[in-house]
């Protein structure tokens, strides 16, 4: 107890020595404060914030399958404080200790076919495990990419780019507000992370070695088994289309479309582990779709993607029709094609 107290105090003192110091560590005081810090740099998560060089104890990671967010390039980091560790789960998000911070920066480039050239940061979302549970905090970057400020009400940012398919694209990118963060991160009455589950992390991340093994080695997590589950990589075309489509729906839809998510009342549950065909949408009528039905009768009409509401809503960029409701203003053509292919591969119902 005393040793930990001294360690914590030392960490705090060392945090004061400068924001670009290689030895800088995150500020637990700021992380656990009841009030969000006005600037991202206040947390001390980066040794060099402009270059996204993480501070000591902050680890870059990625997911096997990312959520589509208007083609945004995402840079993720995790900070697990001091000698604490997360508890492993085979199916759910890991049980991270209080003080954990998940950092996700959303970046774009003028030509998304060459994403490293001229890449710039638009927003960073923090998900912090406070004493009383997880909470989400959106930060919006300045034009120079040196600092991001707290933006609880979100923001609209006009962006121009060449999209990954080579088409010029102008979008009105929506930085979500604090409540919208919760809409996707809701789990019952609580807010929970979405990505850091074993099946999503179980591959070589940006560090170049298996992330789960790396986190175990670093002492960030306990209880990783010899063979953790892995979700099929959505864009690995060697894998069966059904599993790729289900993996896509899992990461893009199931954070709301689950029993204790924001879309629970729809009864349409799209998680990877869901096995009831009706809950996945086969033979299921819409509940509250309104014009989101597009005049179609079934959520998924096997063999007939053009008669499936799921496809209609993925293929729209209009509020009131488009799904997901938040986080995208353009259509994910690749994801749409995959889901179409999957529905087309299902046996037509008599």
């Amino acid at each position: 107890m005393i040793a930990r107290f001294v360690l914590a105090a030392l960490l705090l003192v060392s945090a004061c020595s400068g924001r670009t110091d290689e030895a800088a560590t995150p500020s637990l005081e700021t992380i656990l404060s009841g009030t969000p810090a006005p600037a991202l740099s206040d947390y001390g998560l980066f040794a060099d914030q402009a270059r996204a060089q993480p501070a000591k104890g902050v680890v870059a990671y990625d997911l096997v399958n990312p959520l589509f967010s208007d083609h945004a390039i995402k840079h993720r980091f995790v900070f697990v404080p001091g000698d604490q560790e997360a508890k492993y789960s085979a199916t759910d998000v890991f049980d991270f200790p209080v003080g954990t911070v998940l950092v996700k920066t959303f970046s774009f480039a003028p030509d998304m076919r060459a994403p490293e050239t001229g890449q710039y940061k638009v927003e960073t979302r923090l998900l912090i495990h406070k004493e009383d549970g997880w909470a989400a905090f959106p930060y919006v970057w300045n034009a120079a990419g040196t600092e991001a400020v707290y933006a609880p009400a979100g923001k609209h940012v006009d962006l121009d780019m060449i999209d990954p398919a080579g088409t010029p694209l102008s979008i009105r990118y929506a930085v979500p507000n604090k409540n919208q963060c919760k809409t996707c991160h809701q789990s019952g009455d609580a807010v929970l992370p979405i990505g850091p589950k074993a099946r999503n992390l179980n591959h070589e991340g940006p560090v170049g070695i298996n992330q789960l093994a790396d986190w175990q080695r670093r002492g960030m997590i306990d209880g990783v088994p010899a063979h953790p589950p892995i979700v099929p990589a959505v864009w690995d075309t060697r894998l069966p289309v059904e599993s790729r489509a289900r993996a896509y729906l899992d990461i893009n839809c199931a954070h709301c479309h689950k029993a204790d998510g924001s879309a629970s009342n729809s009864g349409l549950w799209l998680g990877w582990t869901e096995s009831d065909p009706v809950k996945i949408g086969l033979g299921k009528h819409p509940t509250a779709a309104g014009r989101g039905s597009g005049g179609r009768i079934m959520v998924v009409e096997p063999g007939q993607p053009d008669q499936s509401i799921l496809v209609f809503r993925m293929a729209s960029d209009e509020a009131g029709i488009a799904m997901p409701e938040l986080g995208r203003s353009v259509i994910d053509e690749d994801g749409l094609a995959l889901v179409r292919e999957w529905i087309g591969s299902l046996d037509v119902q008599e």
Partner: protein, 414 residues
């Protein structure tokens, strides 16, 4: 607990170990919480910030004015009152909406919404989900222009909630239901006006609802009590519909196909589908061109084993009926034609069995004046087979079930 102690120790130590720079924990200068939301700068940002930073139990006041919003608003703080200057004075206009599925989303408990209007949202008007003890009072939610398929689905849309009060709310133009309460328990909808919607007022997959003192007019269907399969909460029961004006609900059905209300025949007053213990009394029905009251089973195939698709234990008593039934629409049109064109006030489909089950008695009690017409279509079961229809004007024998007690809500001070 151990970490809590450590955390506090860290905090006190941090103060001692301060770097000589003040800890920058002040919130950015925002609108005046508890007062009037500022119209200086970007109103939408000011309002959303106020809703996020509101203290539990506080009031956020909206100024008078017509405000254009680009994305949906949301409220997630318990006990907040969002109060406008009046439903004709504070207009939140979403005609240019580009984001979110509704105009306002409430996800916290004990919230009161009052004195403003929501107009032309791209999706639903106001949705409250898992928001217990919510009060909607003195509000208008509408889509301007003629009834249109591209209007949003629901005007006010509480779902998965306990203790819902909707009082003196006006809803027009919803392409599904104007006032829709879904998968909830303990509900009062009263003194409200629903017009030019597909469904005026709809209670769906819910228990214990009192719907009274409302006017449902110029909708496709006036008041609907439905239960649908394959949802987290099914088995709706115990609804009382009384002292309502349910008149002239003859607007064409403009619901997008696929939605259950797309099957509502234009010109129906009350529809009870797949629900139990529903009491319809002391209402005024007039000039609903298909039928004033329609009792029907859920007509689609389903796989939900716990689901009962039949309306049962229904009591109709002391209502006044005039006009209507003379121009039946939708599924009722061929049936009306087959029996000479005129439908009586009360029409039941007569279905009591489905693919995997049946009810021994639907127990439909018609305690109306002898002059009030009744027709059992004798459909037998769905899917509809025109050859098997056996219409009967004989009122069913029934043992009227006792009325459920009046719904009492903790937030309703009378």
């Amino acid at each position: 607990m151990k970490w809590t102690i450590l955390g506090s120790a860290c905090l006190s130590m941090a103060i001692l170990a301060s770097c000589g720079q003040p800890a920058s924990t002040d919130a950015a200068a925002g609108p005046d919480i508890g007062g009037l939301v500022s119209t200086e700068g970007d109103f939408a940002t000011n309002l959303q910030t106020a809703l996020i930073e509101a203290e539990p139990g506080s009031t956020v006041q909206l100024p008078e004015g017509h405000f254009h919003l680009e994305t949906g608003l949301s409220l997630d703080v318990h006990g907040v009152t969002l109060m406008g200057a009046g439903e004709d004075k504070t207009i939140l206009d979403f005609a240019g909406q580009t984001g979110a599925g509704e105009g306002l989303l409430v996800t916290s408990d004990g919230v009161t919404l009052t004195g403003f209007a929501i107009r032309d949202t791209k999706g639903d008007g106001i949705k409250s989900k898992g928001a217990d003890r919510i009060t909607y009072r003195d509000l208008t939610v509408e889509w301007s222009g003629d009834p249109d398929e591209t209007n949003g689905a629901y005007g006010v849309y509480p779902v998965e909630s306990q203790d819902v009060l909707i009082d003196n709310v006006t809803v027009r133009g919803a392409s599904d239901a104007g006032i829709y309460v879904g998968q909830s328990n303990n509900i009062i909808v009263r003194n409200s006006l629903a017009e030019f919607n597909v469904a005026g007022i709809e209670i769906e997959n819910s228990m214990h609802a009192d719907v009274y003192g409302n006017t449902a007019r110029y909708n496709t269907g006036g008041i609907l009590v439905f239960d649908l399969p394959d949802l987290p909460q099914t088995g709706g029961h115990s609804t009382r519909i009384f002292d309502n004006e349910i008149v002239d609900n003859n607007t064409r059905n403009f619901a997008p196909a696929g939605n259950i209300v797309a099957g509502v025949p234009s010109g129906t007053g009350v529809i009870i589908m797949a629900n139990r213990n529903v009491h319809v009394f002391s209402n005024t029905f007039s000039n609903n061109r298909s039928a004033h009251v329609l009792l029907t089973a859920y007509p689609e195939p389903f796989s939900d084993e716990a689901y009962n698709p039949i309306p049962r234990d229904v009591v109709l008593s002391g209502n006044s009926y005039s006009g209507g039934g003379d121009d039946a629409q939708g599924m009722l049109q061929p049936i009306a034609a087959a029996i000479g064109g005129q439908l009586p006030a009360i029409v039941a489909d007569g279905v009591a069995t489905w693919e995997t089950g049946s009810v021994p008695t639907t127990n439909i009690s018609v305690q109306e004046d002898g002059s009030v017409g009744f027709l059992d279509l004798g459909i037998g079961k769905y899917p509809l087979d025109p050859a098997s229809i056996a219409p009967s004007k004989q009122r069913p024998t029934a043992m009227p079930v006792e009325q459920p007690a009046a719904v009492v809500l903790p937030q309703d001070e009378g």
